[in-house]
């Protein structure tokens, strides 16, 4: 990669001033992503730096037309700065810090849920290899065996990637974690079509089989995007000891759920991919629910100012509703899929659905209480003090 051209070496006469003005307008539009108080203090300076960069690049390659659109790298750079500022890691920034902490905890809880389901998926794999319990056969025909092996492979690899991402985040290895996130996004989208293509089903079942993994893949991508945005370089590091303990507890919980599922009327082995779909969609929904609980508490608490957060709470609520609707849609598809297939009617599938929903509610409640406890520890003044830039007229 080449070094940047020096600002002092920029040959300004090579650059058309009117074109630079148009480029400036384009940059100003993108800079609206940044918080208003920050823009008030820094926009003019920041804009000058970006335009100096454009002029320097042009000067380095000789005279040429000024690009009238913002380059992709600059767009990503501004988006990164916006994420840092909107989800601040500095307690003195008040609202931005609370938003950042809420999102960081939502992501951590959603990842811990993934660890639990990874443990569950590994239990399913072990049970199938051992041939113990109902529904642990590999299938009669070659197609059925292929589908079973493929499904299990996808589930286990997806689960292991989730575990790796969580482990890397907790142990503060951000660069490999980002690589793992990219790999996971590519993997979940690449494998989302497996069930439909391998099953050879009729049209109705094909739609069901194709849509559910796609919804799950989108939910997983949203979770990973939230993870990368929330844990930016300025974010406070994860408390390693506390979250490693929770990591272990989640894995144990996955094993306990596997062991307890039969007594709740569920067959833990019959829906290998369904469990993974549940993991992504339902966990996204429960993370949103937990976030809404946190923000709702912040907004309604008498000790904090209400007005500033009301609009954002409504937005978070709307997002949670959309996300939860996606989760319910996926669950309905899951029910329809099982009703169409040969696993039995809704009567037998409602039990695991109710069981899994109960787990989600318990987890969301635990998280809301945990978030309330954590946010209580931030001093009122520090958490709601306006950003220094907000005080300037």
């Amino acid at each position: 990669m080449t070094a940047l051209p020096s600002a002092t070496s920029v040959a300004d006469p090579l650059v058309d001033a009117s074109d630079l003005h148009r480029a400036e307008l384009a940059y100003r539009r993108i800079l609206r992503l940044l918080p208003a108080p920050y823009r008030r203090d820094w926009e003019a300076d920041l804009l000058g730096a970006y335009l100096d960069g454009v002029a320097a690049r042009l000067a380095a390659v000789g005279a040429g037309p000024v690009p009238l659109a913002v380059s992709l790298s600059d767009r990503l750079d501004i988006a990164r700065l916006a994420a840092r500022l909107h989800l601040s890691g500095d307690p003195s920034t008040g609202k931005a810090f609370i938003w950042g902490e809420a999102l960081r905890r939502m992501v951590l809880v959603a990842l811990l849920a993934q660890v639990g389901f990874a443990a569950l998926a590994l239990c399913q794999l072990a049970a199938r290899i051992a041939g113990e319990g109902p529904g642990t056969g590999w299938g009669e025909s070659r197609g059925e065996i292929l589908l079973t092996v493929g499904s299990l492979t996808i589930t286990v690899l997806t689960s292991l990637l989730w575990v790796s991402i969580t482990w890397l985040l907790i142990t503060h290895r951000r660069a490999p974690m980002r690589v793992a996130c990219l790999a996971q996004v590519a993997w979940v989208f690449a494998t989302s079509g497996f069930n439909a293509s391998a099953a050879g089903l009729d049209r109705q079942a094909l739609v069901v089989q194709a849509l559910e993994p796609t919804v799950s893949a989108v939910a997983a991508a949203l979770l990973l995007a939230a993870l990368v945005l929330a844990f930016h370089p300025d974010a406070p590091p994860v408390n390693r000891r506390a979250w490693l303990t929770r990591f272990a507890a989640s894995a144990v919980a996955g094993v306990v759920v596997f062991a307890a599922a039969p007594s709740a009327g569920a067959d833990p082995n019959s829906t290998a991919i369904g469990w993974q779909a549940f993991a992504t969609t339902r966990c996204a929904a429960l993370a949103c629910l937990a976030g809404v609980c946190t923000l709702g508490w912040l907004a309604t608490s008498k000790r904090r100012r209400r007005g500033h957060l009301q609009r954002r709470v409504m937005l978070a609520l709307l997002l949670a509703l959309v996300w939860s609707a996606a989760g319910v849609f996926a669950a309905a598809l899951s029910l329809a899929q099982l009703a169409i297939g040969e696993h039995g009617g809704p009567a037998t599938t409602l039990a695991p659905e109710a069981f899994s929903t109960a787990i989600a509610i318990v987890m969301a409640t635990a998280f809301a209480l945990h978030a309330r406890h954590l946010l209580h520890r931030y001093p009122d003044q520090a958490s709601m003090t306006p950003h220094p830039a907000e005080e300037t007229p």
């Binding site: 990669m1 080449t2 070094a3 940047l4 051209p5 020096s6 600002a7 002092t8 300004d12 001033a17 630079l20 003005h21 400036e24 920050y38 820094w42 003019a44 300076d45 920041l46 804009l47 000058g48 730096a49 970006y50 335009l51 100096d52 960069g53 320097a56 600059d74 750079d77 501004i78 990164r80 700065l81 840092r84 500022l85 500095d90 003195s92 370089p233 300025d234 220094p388």
Partner: protein, 106 residues
């Protein structure tokens, strides 16, 4: 006060003379050691996130503001606290380097 890597390079870039945002970016990028990918320039977002933090901590301050081609150029300079922080961090890095060299018998 321990400085992170971008903050250290920015303070080092400002050690000799006041610079504007893009000037800091180029100078700080040149100070970074090369790796297997060559010399990687810093991102403007990284520089400005650090500038805001350093200004809030009183390690840098605005020196002057000039208009260049109709655009604002704000020049920053080190404060006394910033100079001390840079010296302290430089001594820390030097001590680390010496410890490593002694162990490796370089």
């Amino acid at each position: 006060m321990a400085l992170n890597e971008p903050s250290f390079y920015i303070l080092a870039a400002l050690a000799q003379q006041p610079l504007h945002g893009y000037g800091i970016l180029t100078q700080a990028s040149q100070l970074r050691p090369t790796d297997q990918y060559g010399q990687r320039p810093m991102k403007i977002s990284t520089v400005y996130a650090a500038l805001e933090r350093l200004a809030a901590e009183g390690l840098i301050e605005i020196d002057s503001e000039q208009i260049h081609q109709g655009r604002l150029r704000r020049y920053y300079r080190l404060t006394r606290a910033g100079n001390l922080a840079l010296q302290e961090q430089t001594r820390r890095y030097a001590a680390l380097t010496q410890a490593g060299q002694r162990r490796l018998a370089l």
